[in-house]
């Protein structure tokens, strides 16, 4: 089976965000980019599935030249080949989804993995978009995945509980932390990745559905009050919460 995994190239979560002068994006100067953390679970699940049922794993990433760093890391983990959908334009998520879906169709696959959310724009809807465009089944934020024949049994966390879902391929599965323990790239894997192909395709934007008017920093909270340094401060803290903040 051919399995596709979609990966994104994002600022490390330790990044301190500064807004660029265009006031629409972050300033990428000095920012370290990494494989989107949730995508690592997606890659691991794709590789595990390939190991179980055979086939190949193709990674797709949309972005500019720098996304190749992420694709190399992914190839080093064991992904067989990669496609870079190349654009310099800022795209909204539905436009990105359409571009990914088009490539997934070309790849002629029935199983797609991706992280449940990208830690840059935090929308957590890319898998749902792609599934809807392709008319695939969707399991978003999966914490467990089993494929047997065409049948999928998956689990996911919902607010205050857990769901077990039965569905079938073709499907998009988005990965939540807890799905698996992502592997590290081996030295052999890193060497092999250098010889693997990253196919580049220039893409054309179909139109932006949403428009960012402005990006800004959130209002800074004024530093609060240190009520005390030990348990003797507790009555005063409780008084403040009751009378000043009125939250308890």
């Amino acid at each position: 089976m051919k399995i596709v995994v979609c990966v994104n190239h994002v600022p490390d979560t330790a990044t301190r965000v500064n807004i660029s002068t265009n006031q629409k994006t972050i300033d990428s100067n000095g920012v370290t980019y990494v494989v989107n953390p949730y995508d690592e679970f997606a890659i691991e699940e794709a590789l595990k599935t390939k190991e179980a049922v055979g086939g190949e794993v193709v990674a797709i990433s949309l972005g500019n030249e720098t996304n190749k760093e992420t694709l190399r890391k992914v190839l080093a983990m064991g992904v067989d080949s990669a496609v870079l959908l190349k654009t310099e334009e800022a795209m909204d998520s539905l436009s990105v989804a359409k571009a990914l879906a088009q490539e997934i169709k070309i790849q002629n696959t029935e199983l797609v993995f991706m992280g449940k959310q990208s830690v840059d724009y935090d929308n957590a809807i890319m898998g749902q978009y792609v599934a809807a465009i392709l008319d695939f089944n969707i399991v978003a934020a999966a914490t467990n995945f089993n494929l047997s024949g065409n049948k999928i049994i998956a689990e996911r966390e919902i607010e205050g509980g857990k769901e077990t879902i039965e569905t079938s391929i073709p499907a998009v599965i988005t990965a939540q932390k807890g799905l698996n323990e992502p592997r590290y790239a081996s030295l052999k894997g890193i060497m092999a990745a250098k010889k693997k192909v990253i196919e580049e395709k220039e893409i054309i934007i179909s139109g932006n559905f949403v428009n960012v008017i402005e990006m800004k920093k959130p209002p800074q909270k004024a530093a609060g009050k240190i009520v005390g340094v030990d348990a003797s401060a507790v009555p005063e803290l409780v008084r403040l919460l009751k009378e000043e903040a009125k939250v308890i």
């Binding site: 089944n137 909270k221 030990d230 919460l241 903040a245 939250v247």
Partner: protein, 319 residues
């Protein structure tokens, strides 16, 4: 400009979610400003107190009903929701930004080929357009966003908009019995975490971090949470150490939360954690290290040992 608002009302176990009341209230305020019509739709089997929706400013709700809709199924619910939105020709659709909202809103956006902005923390009318505030990078930055399409969908972050009931008005409830249900995606089992509030829906959260040193020390965190009717949360360090489940994790690779009160116990305040909780209305920090970054976002702090402060706090609250 929007003429017809549709609010998706989410139910689980036949109970309407608080976050849906927030969407109803915000929707009715915006519809009034834009002089637009508004109605609601709910999908499920037996659902209690639907007429109460009227109190939030929406006086018509359609209940799409079938016994097979008792459990949520993304395929069944999306299909019915899309069909209904198209039937009434809704051009502005609001949902709560829950797992269900994030499942079905994108499906509708694809069908309507329209702009969708998720996880909004504010919606404002500017002339005839709606401008959404959408946090990015886990809240380290905010974007102001508008859609470029005749129809628009927004999902609202739970706990940010206030639901505060406005009147005793009753809504007209129209029941539409559904003949066939698409269960190509079928939820066969739902296991609830007994008596446990989810951090994304709680008004008060008590979170513990690395400074608690061991899983068993979360006992006092749970006790404090029970005393306050709060949910328990955790920092990434506590989750990675295996002391707490990932569903409790607050922060950039966990959940972003906005409760009325967030109590951070023995959490130093890594940037990823601060990003996930700094939009809480009030923050209390309890940490031995007076220089810990968590005090930079806290309204009130005790720079002391959690093992002394928390038991004292539990006792004080019992008084």
């Amino acid at each position: 400009m929007a003429n017809k608002f549709l609010i998706y009302v989410e139910q689980r176990d036949g109970n309407i979610k608080k976050s849906s009341f927030e969407a109803l209230k915000k929707g009715s305020e915006l519809a009034k400003l834009l002089n637009a019509k508004i109605e609601a739709v709910v999908i499920g089997n037996e659902i209690g107190n639907l007429e109460d929706i009227g109190g939030y400013g929406v006086n018509k709700v359609t209940h799409l009903k079938n016994a097979e809709l008792t459990n949520y199924s993304v395929s069944a619910y999306s299909e019915l929701f899309i069909k209904f939105a198209e039937e009434i020709n809704a051009d502005l659709i609001l949902l709560a930004n829950t797992l269900m909202g994030k499942d079905i809103a994108p499906a509708l956006a694809v069908k309507l080929n329209c702009g969708l902005v998720v996880d909004c923390t504010e919606l404002e009318v500017n002339n005839v357009n709606i401008i959404a505030t959408k946090p990015v990078y886990a809240g380290k930055a905010l974007t102001l966003v508008e859609t470029n399409t005749p129809k628009s969908i927004f999902t609202l972050r739970p706990n940010v908009f206030t639901a505060g009931k406005s009147s005793a008005m009753k809504a007209e409830v129209i029941v539409q019995n559904i003949d066939t249900v698409n269960l190509s995606n079928n939820v066969t089992k739902v296991v609830k975490t007994e008596g446990k509030l989810d951090v994304s829906e709680a008004d008060i959260i008590v979170s513990g971090g690395r400074g608690l040193k061991a899983a068993e020390n979360f006992g006092m965190i749970e006790e404090l949470a029970a005393q306050l009717g709060a949910a328990t949360g955790a920092s990434r360090a506590a989750v990675d150490a295996g002391w707490r489940p990932h569903s409790d994790q607050v922060g950039q690779t966990g959940k972003t939360v906005s409760p009325n009160l967030y109590i951070a116990v023995a959490i130093s305040g890594a940037i990823q954690h601060l990003a996930g909780m700094q939009s809480s209305k009030f923050i209390v920090a309890i940490n031995k290290d007076k220089d810990a970054p968590i005090f930079g976002v806290a309204d009130y702090g005790i720079a002391g040992d959690a093992f002394e402060v928390i038991p004292a706090l539990i006792e004080e609250l019992k008084k």
